[in-house]
């Protein structure tokens, strides 16, 4: 999906960062709105109806997690979180509250645009896009068929479910909790079983499991299927 003409709301209390984003995103033909606080941001979403929100977690009034939570009560506008490396727990909380993705400061413009593209892309589903392909990996949802480099791969039902969720959200981060909840059900909290299944899945999909090309680890947060 190409960017252009969409409206972006940038929420950050640091003026230099807002200036940088306005310049970088404006150059891409995007319409940029700015907010410096969380409450301002919520009002801006109401008045400007942005297509995507770039939200810093550390805001002076209400923090980014709370902003996400309030927005998600009535809005499904994609939200991309900006945070620092040391704040894993905040990131996870924001993602679990409904944010779509995150970026660790500092970040490059290219990275941000890629995230925005993924976030703006409509979610593929088995009905409208029955076949997913990325690199040597092909997943045929209608036939429950997984092929890597033209070779069929046998997956257990759990591994298939895991892969399906990752593929459905390809390019986006999925937190550990989201994966556990969607594959094993609500209240399931066993990191051990998730790690083992991801490891097995990698063993079957990746040419070199110690340098994975498809399933990318987001340390402390979750996994992301690369596209």
């Amino acid at each position: 999906m190409t960017l252009g003409n969409q409206r972006v709301l940038v929420v950050d209390d640091e003026a230099p960062i807002r200036r940088y984003l306005r310049a970088a995103l404006g150059a891409q033909g995007l319409m940029v709105y700015e907010s410096a606080t969380g409450l301002e941001a919520i009002n801006a979403v109401l008045s400007h109806r942005p297509d995507v929100i770039i939200l810093d977690l550390g805001l002076p009034d209400i923090d980014g997690i709370e902003v996400t939570r309030r927005l998600r009560e009535w809005s499904q506008t994609p939200i991309i979180i900006l945070s620092v490396r040391e704040a894993e727990q905040d990131k996870i909380a924001a993602l679990d509250a409904g944010a779509d993705d995150y970026l660790t400061k500092p970040f490059g413009t290219g990275e941000l645009l890629a995230r925005m593209r993924v976030a703006l892309r409509k979610q593929p589903s088995a009905t409208n896009e029955p076949i997913f392909q990325s690199g040597g990996l092909t997943v045929d949802f209608s036939r429950r068929l997984v092929v890597v480099n033209e070779k069929e791969v046998q997956l257990t039902p759990t591994e298939y479910d895991l892969l399906k969720i990752l593929v459905t959200h390809a390019g986006k981060v999925i937190t550990h909790r989201q994966l556990l909840k969607q594959v094993w059900g609500e209240g399931y909290d066993d990191m051990h079983i998730l790690r083992v299944n991801i490891s097995n899945l990698r063993g079957k999909l990746e040419p070199d499991p110690s340098r994975p090309t498809y399933i990318h680890t987001e340390p402390g947060v979750g996994y992301r299927l690369k596209v």
Binding site: H192, V196, R211, H216, T217
Partner: protein, 885 residues
């Protein structure tokens, strides 16, 4: 000796005037009823009128209206009620007085004995504590309660007073006011019922209040006060440097023994010293026999020395050989060294014949004394020797005597068997042998018995006429006498030799114990091990429970405690008292004797470093013997010095740490200012070049941008490292432990390194089924990133870097192996230090934080990190993590 004011004396006087200790005024009477309490109250009222803050600490009005009236107008502090055997006894509340902090407190009946369970056994000790707190005290005292006059009072009046106070307490008083009333007037008052008399003692008191007694007591108190005035006069003249009347410094020495006469000796010497205004010293000379003395006797020696100290003497214990000559020599040498002018000793109590055998100490002293006078003191009602002093007392267990008789019987049987073949007189040798054997193995008494029995048996059985004690040939008498005398001499000599050997063994053992202790203390590196060594040695040597307490933020903390020993709050309070007052207290002492343990201050020249608590032995409640006490003091001294040394070392270490922290801070500032600035230079440079140079060609522009971005990333990593370091150092690092996949861990780290490792080959050797390890995944990724980055930095391009994982001893071992420059052997342990970087190669940049952060993170996981040189060149960094934390 010159009669000039002694500088030390002057200094003492000045100090006495300047010191903040409270002043003690004693209202001294010669008997109850002269009006001491009334006089004290009147004086107090005068002071109050002058604006002094006066309170009543404890006064017994005995319901006399005029006294009660005076008391009512003053503030009376509440008394402390002490429970004892279901009786509640009112006592003065010492802490109450001290906390109230008046300027002057009134305390009646100075010589009062406190209820058991009070802090001090005697009220005068309470008063001393109040004085030490800087509060003035008025108190009342009757002359008969004075320790040194105790026996004289008993002689004069026939009534022995039990409540006594040491003379030194009176000497320390700033002022003494004699409350005098002529005996006739007193007797009138008594008849009028104006003198308080407890009912049950009425008759005894009546007897006591005879005119003769009263006159004698009155004289004593007046004389005492006069002496006191004398002293003050002298002190005054000394401070004003008035030359004059005082005599050359006399110094008396009293030699004490376990004999009951010694107490009297000490009192007599005190009076003599008072009259001469002389210093005096009490001396006990310990002979090898001391070790074999009964505990009673040893305690008596300690008590007498204590009495002497209470009466104002200095006391010493010296050691000498067991012969009288040696004892006398020791005394005389000591006397010369200490400029003693007069020696006081007791008249021997032994019978003349024993003196003949053993020698007389008095004779020897007089013989050797030279220009020193020797005073021999005796007692009018000649005290009998205590049972164990009697020559007839059995020194050895009864079975030894039986054994010695059996030996004699055996000799007799042998005598019968060989009787026909040898001269009869030679049979005597058999009995002599018996005596020798008895002396060596059974002791002195059995040997004497053997010689006696030998003589008799020989006479009855082998000398004609047989079976009678009669002797036909008179020359046998000589044989008998010779046999008996030889037996006596041999037994005496042998027994003494063995006693000496025993005493020597004991001393040697003590010395060895002290030596062991000092050696172990010297080899103890820190406070903890010093305390453990001290506790272990004390437990072993004294077979008692031990506790060592050290001060920590204004309270005592038990650092080492024997098993089964529990200290409650009261014990801690005693320890605290000991620490603050630098004096022993607790069980078997005069302060807080109700405590479970005896507490000794651990003193050094600089002050008290801690408190040693000594419990009961396992079997009994016996106090330490004086010898044990001395040994314990030596232990305590050594311990105190070792503790002080450890504390000083600790201080020193803190200093060094502080200095190195400072150095580190400088290094940090240098390193950071350099490392922060370099990327900023590159970035600023690139930006300004792009800004100003419009005609730059494409590759040059790209190179500039690429370089600036690389530097920006480096700056970001540096900031991350500094943040991590700060968190690790402040202990703020919090692990989010989750089961982590090692393969994933390495993969993620490699991905994060991205371009930084593009010139090296990374070989990962982690099996897919490697178990999950409990870890903080994000932080461990940081560790692997740091280690790989380090390996890349120090190894040549295109070389192989291996990452291997294996299991060993329920630990996961991760290794990063490179083919780089390796690490100089001396640096292997230091490369994990903060800001440490190997000297070469110099081209490599970095802050030296990466490895140190890795170490911090790994150790927070309960793991370890090591560096070693790899065979064939290169370095191995090894991380060991427990599978589960």
């Amino acid at each position: 000796m010159e009669n000039r004011p002694d500088p030390d004396e002057l200094l003492k006087n000045i100090q006495a005037e300047e010191t903040k200790r409270g002043r003690l005024k004693i209202f001294l009477g010669y008997v109850a009823g002269v009006g001491k309490t009334y006089a004290m109250l009147e004086a107090a009222h005068q002071r109050k009128a002058q604006g002094v803050d006066v309170v009543v600490g404890y006064i017994e009005t005995h319901k006399r209206a005029e006294t009660e009236e005076l008391v009512e107008e003053l503030e009376v502090l509440p008394r402390k009620l002490v429970e004892y055997h279901n009786v509640t006894l009112p006592e003065m509340d010492v802490d109450g007085v001290i906390n109230r902090r008046p300027q002057l407190v009134l305390v009646d009946e100075f010589a009062h004995t406190n209820a058991p369970g009070s802090r001090h056994p005697k009220r005068y000790q309470d008063v001393q504590e109040i004085l030490a707190a800087g509060i003035d005290v008025y108190t009342t005292l009757n002359i008969q309660h004075l320790e040194s006059l105790n026996d004289v009072v008993a002689q004069v009046t026939g009534v022995t007073v039990r409540e006594t106070i040491p003379d030194r307490v009176i000497d320390e008083a700033s002022e003494i006011e004699v409350i005098d009333l002529p005996p006739d007037e007193l007797l009138v008052r008594l008849q009028e019922g104006k003198v308080y008399v407890p009912d049950q003692a009425a008759r005894a008191i009546q007897k006591f209040f005879r005119k003769g007694n009263l006159t004698a007591l009155r004289e004593m108190s007046l004389r005492r006060a006069a002496e006191r005035v004398d002293d003050q006069m002298r002190a005054y003249m000394q401070t004003r440097a008035i030359q004059g009347i005082w005599a050359a410094g006399e110094c008396l020495l009293v030699c004490i023994s376990p004999s009951p006469l010694s107490e009297r000796l000490v009192r007599t010497t005190r009076r003599l010293a008072d009259e001469l205004n002389a210093e005096w010293i009490a001396l006990y000379v310990e002979t090898p026999q001391f070790a074999s003395m009964s505990p009673d006797k040893r305690d008596r020696v300690a008590n007498i020395l204590q009495l002497a100290e209470d009466l104002g003497a200095r006391s010493y214990i010296l050691s000498a050989g067991s012969a009288m000559d040696s004892v006398a020599q020791t005394i005389i040498e000591f006397a010369h060294k200490n400029n003693i002018t007069k020696i006081v000793t007791g008249k021997p109590l032994r019978p003349r014949w024993q003196e003949f055998l053993r020698g007389s100490l008095v004779d020897k002293l007089i013989h050797k004394s030279g220009d020193i006078d020797v005073y021999v003191v005796t007692s009018s009602d000649k005290p009998s020797l205590p049972a164990d002093e009697s020559p007839l007392k059995l020194h050895s267990p009864i079975h030894r005597y039986v054994l010695s008789l059996l030996l004699v019987a055996l000799a007799t049987v042998i005598g019968f068997l060989i009787g026909g073949r040898v001269e009869q007189t030679n049979l005597v040798m058999l009995y002599l042998l018996t005596v020798v054997v008895s002396a060596i193995y059974l002791g002195r008494g059995p040997a004497i018995l053997a010689s006696l029995a030998g003589v008799l048996t020989f006479d009855v059985l082998f000398v004609t006429p047989y079976y009678t004690f009669a002797v036909s040939d008179t020359q046998y008498i000589i044989v008998f006498i010779a046999l008996f005398l030889v037996g006596m001499v041999i037994s005496q000599l042998t027994a003494r030799a063995s006693e000496q050997a025993q005493a020597a063994r004991q001393r040697e053992a003590e010395t060895a114990e002290l030596y062991d202790l000092s050696r172990d203390l010297a080899s103890s590196a820190n406070l903890e091990s010093i305390l453990h060594v001290l506790k272990k040695h004390l437990e072993q040597t004294f077979n008692r429970t031990i506790v060592v307490l050290l001060p920590e933020e204004n309270r005592m903390v038990a650092y080492v405690v024997s098993e089964n020993l529990k200290l409650n709050d009261e014990e801690m309070a005693v320890a605290d008292w000991v620490y603050r007052h630098a004096e022993p207290a607790g069980r078997h002492t005069n302060t807080l004797p109700a405590a479970q343990l005896r507490y000794l201050p651990l003193k050094t020249s600089k002050g008290v470093v801690g408190v040693l608590g000594v419990g009961k032995p396992n079997t009994s409640d016996a106090d330490l013997t004086p010898a044990e006490r001395r040994l314990m003091e030596s232990f305590a001294n050594q311990g105190a010095q070792a503790i002080e040394r450890a504390l000083l070392e600790e201080q020193n270490r803190q200093m060094v740490l502080l200095q190195s922290a400072e150095k580190l801070q400088n290094a940090l500032l240098n390193s950071i200012s350099h490392d922060l600035r370099t990327p900023l230079v590159a970035i600023t440079g690139a930006l300004s070049a792009l800004d100003e140079n419009y005609e730059m060609d494409e590759p040059a522009r790209n190179a500039l941008i690429e370089n600036a971005r690389g530097e920006a990333e480096r700056l970001n990593r540096l900031v991350g490292n500094l943040l991590n370091m700060t968190r690790i150092e402040s202990g703020a690092i919090k692990l989010h432990l989750e089961p982590g996949d090692v393969q994933d861990l390495v993969g993620t780290a490699i991905e994060q390194l991205g371009k930084r490792i593009e010139h090296h080959q990374i070989k990962v050797d982690v099996t897919a089924n490697f178990p999950l390890i409990s870890m903080d995944f994000t932080l461990m990724v940081q560790v692997i990133v740091n280690l790989l980055e380090n390996a890349v930095k120090y190894s040549p391009e295109d070389s192989i870097i291996e990452v291997a994982a294996s299991l060993r001893d329920s630990k996961a071992r991760l290794q990063i192996l490179d083919r780089g420059a390796g690490i100089p052997h001396d640096d292997l342990s230091r490369i994990f230090d903060k800001f440490y970087r190997t000297e070469h190669p110099e081209s490599v940049s970095g802050t030296g934080l990466g490895l140190s952060i890795s170490k911090g993170i790994v150790e927070a996981h309960g793991g370890q990190i090591h560096a070693m040189n790899r065979e064939g060149g290169g370095t191995i960094i090894e991380v060991e993590l427990p599978l589960k934390i």
